[in-house]
Amino acid sequence: MTKPKDPAISAAIPNDDGLMDLHHSMLRVRLVEEKLLQVFADGKIPGFIHVSIGQEAVATGVCSCLTPADTIFTTHRGHGHTLAKGMELKPFMAEIFGRANGACHGNSGSMHVASAEAGVGGANGIVGAGLPISLGSAFGTAFKGEDSVTVVFFGDGASNQGTFHESLNLAALWNLPLVFVCENNGWAQFSAQKAYMKIDSIARRADGYGMPGVLVDGDDVLKVRDGMRQALARARAGDGPTLLECKTYRWFGHYAGDPQKYRPAANVEQARTVDCIANFEKFLIEQGLAGRQQLDDVDARLRVEIDEAIAYAEASPAAPKGQYLNDVYA
């Protein structure tokens, strides 16, 4: 399967170097998560969700460089990565709604959405736990002589887990085709980065493990994409892993409904002044690559797609009684 594109836009603007796809991808993530916040507030989703609104440029910038053969591992805040990597919206939504035809049979919910087909090795509810697994994925593809690459997303908080250090060391040692993407939104759950870390840039840590550490503006999808392209080139050439730090802002709380009492209002306001999608639309219009109406049409088509996915999920049957016993063992 391929990543969802908007064929109408792509045909209208040739030689756009995928720029309209970047816009489509970011806006899709944004609109999906806005819709999720709404249905969550309506009490239609069990459990809890973590949204990445404001951080779409990272997911899109990184995943736009990947093929379905490449694999990503993501985090509790993984909707964006998963969708940008190309997961279909309907099984994604049905899983979050806990339905039988959810991607994971309703076993897991928002925090563990995965798609083998789209190369999404799974979102993970344990901070920093995806890094060791990504080592094996990269090792496995290299072992089999495939030229695909593994990408692991994690946050600034995870960079203080032992798994981060163990994994960077081992990946560098074995020259694994792996890209470590640190999506630094400045907040580890309820704590600001300066409260738990002496350094500003996590990319600096790469040096300690013998790999390049690259810091990019995570709110600029093109800069993210450039950084990722270089990291991928290294990985595909057999030159080993890269630590790519994308600095961005978390617009909302740690989880949907988080009152963020720990966070100064000014910090939230400031975060929301940096809108990767608005900025990119402005850029597209200024460059004459798209008109407002075209972009609004994209928005309108996406909303239809999302409403359909929500309707699909809501209409999907609940997981059958005892379904949970079916996936424990082979």
Binding site: T71, F73, E95, G102, A103, C104, H105, G106, N107, S108, H112, A114, S115, A116, G121, G122, N124, G125, I126, A129, L131, P132, I133, S134, L135, G136, S137, A138, F139, G140, T141, F143, K144, T150, G162, T163, E166, S167, N169, L170, L173, W174, Y324, N326, D327, V328, Y329, A330
Partner: protein, 323 residues
């Protein structure tokens, strides 16, 4: 059949499986040229090369997580964790990741990997190198746990574990590594989830595993001299548990003693006892007794005193018989 040492039987299984399936890879600390801390991987590097025999840094979480990722990509990794006591170091990867991979992703991914780790006491290795932690892992849905007591089972269970499509924890007993026994040459598979009746008897059932199988058989000899006819069931697999083997035996004897080296409290003996009580209490003609270690870490100097042994089993059986 050839007389083979337990550790050699493990080595033989690895050689055979790596020859059979090129996706079998060995991952662990010092598993390459050194051949593993106890010699389990000896000769594999020479035979299969460093692409398939991977020495790693001392990073248990990374090693075990790496095995999971590789398994998701279709390899059959066999990880050696040098001591079972180090499994807690990578507990998240085992419990939250490996065990739940199939479930959490709705069967889209599987984790067909093996973790080998030597547990058990008997070598005066002290509190952090002597534990029997099988109950922890048997408590986790998604994992399989086996504990061979004999060289033949060490080979047969490991080969089955490598071919299994689920993650299998093979808890070897380091005090048994030097023990010898007949091991079938070549293809020999011991099914996971099947117990073995090591001795048939009609008065009391002893359910046991790993090193305590030997103690139980010794106890059975002593008891036979008193006219007490003991049936010894070697579980071999803790998870899945061969419930039927236990039920059938207790149905016959009406008396049950469970012997394990692990701390008695909250151990698998408690699980088996509860299970038998739930399913067949009206078959019991005496209380179910457990033989296990005291509620203390494994001591260094007083290890022998601490460890449950054949005499403890004899006493428990006598108590059951004299109830």
């Amino acid at each position: 059949m050839t007389e083979t040492r337990y550790i050699k039987a493990i080595n033989e299984a690895l050689h055979e499986e790596m020859t059979r399936d090129e996706n079998v890879v060995i991952i662990g600390e010092d598993v390459g040229a050194p051949g593993g801390a106890f010699g389990g991987t000896r000769g594999l590097l020479q035979a299969f090369g460093d692409k398939r025999v991977k020495d790693t840094p001392i990073s248990e979480s990374a090693i075990v997580g790496l095995a999971l990722g590789a398994a998701m990509k279709g390899l059959r990794p066999v990880v050696e964790v040098m001591f079972a006591d180090f499994l807690p170091v990578c507990m998240d990867q085992i419990v939250n990741q490996i065990a739940k991979t199939r479930f959490m992703f709705g069967g889209q991914f599987a984790a067909p990997l093996v973790i080998r780790a030597p547990g058990g006491a008997g070598l005066n290795a002290g509190p952090q190198h002597s534990q029997s932690l099988e109950a922890w892992f048997a408590h986790i849905p998604g994992l399989k746990v086996v504990m061979p007591a004999t060289p033949a089972d060490a080979k047969g269970l490991l080969k089955s574990a490598i071919r299994d499509n689920d993650p299998v924890l093979v808890l070897e007993h380091k005090a048994l590594y030097a023990s010898s026994g007949d091991v079938p040459a070549g293809e020999y598979l011991v099914p996971i989830g099947k117990a073995d009746v090591r001795r048939t008897g009609k008065h009391v059932t002893i359910v046991t595993l790993s090193r305590m199988v030997l103690d139980s058989l010794e106890a059975a000899e002593t008891l036979a001299a008193q006219g007490i006819d003991v049936e010894v069931i070697d579980l071999r697999s803790i998870s899945p548990l061969d419930r039927q083997a236990i039920f059938s035996s207790v149905e016959k004897t009406s008396r049950l003693v469970i012997a394990h080296e692990a701390v008695k409290s909250f151990g698998i003996g408690a699980e088996i006892s509860a299970m038998v009580s739930e399913e067949m209490i009206d078959v019991l003609d005496a209380p179910i007794l457990r033989v296990g270690a005291p509620f203390s870490p494994v001591p260094f100097s007083q290890e022998r005193e601490y460890l449950p042994n054949a005499a403890d089993i004899v006493r428990a059986v006598e108590k059951v018989m004299n109830y």
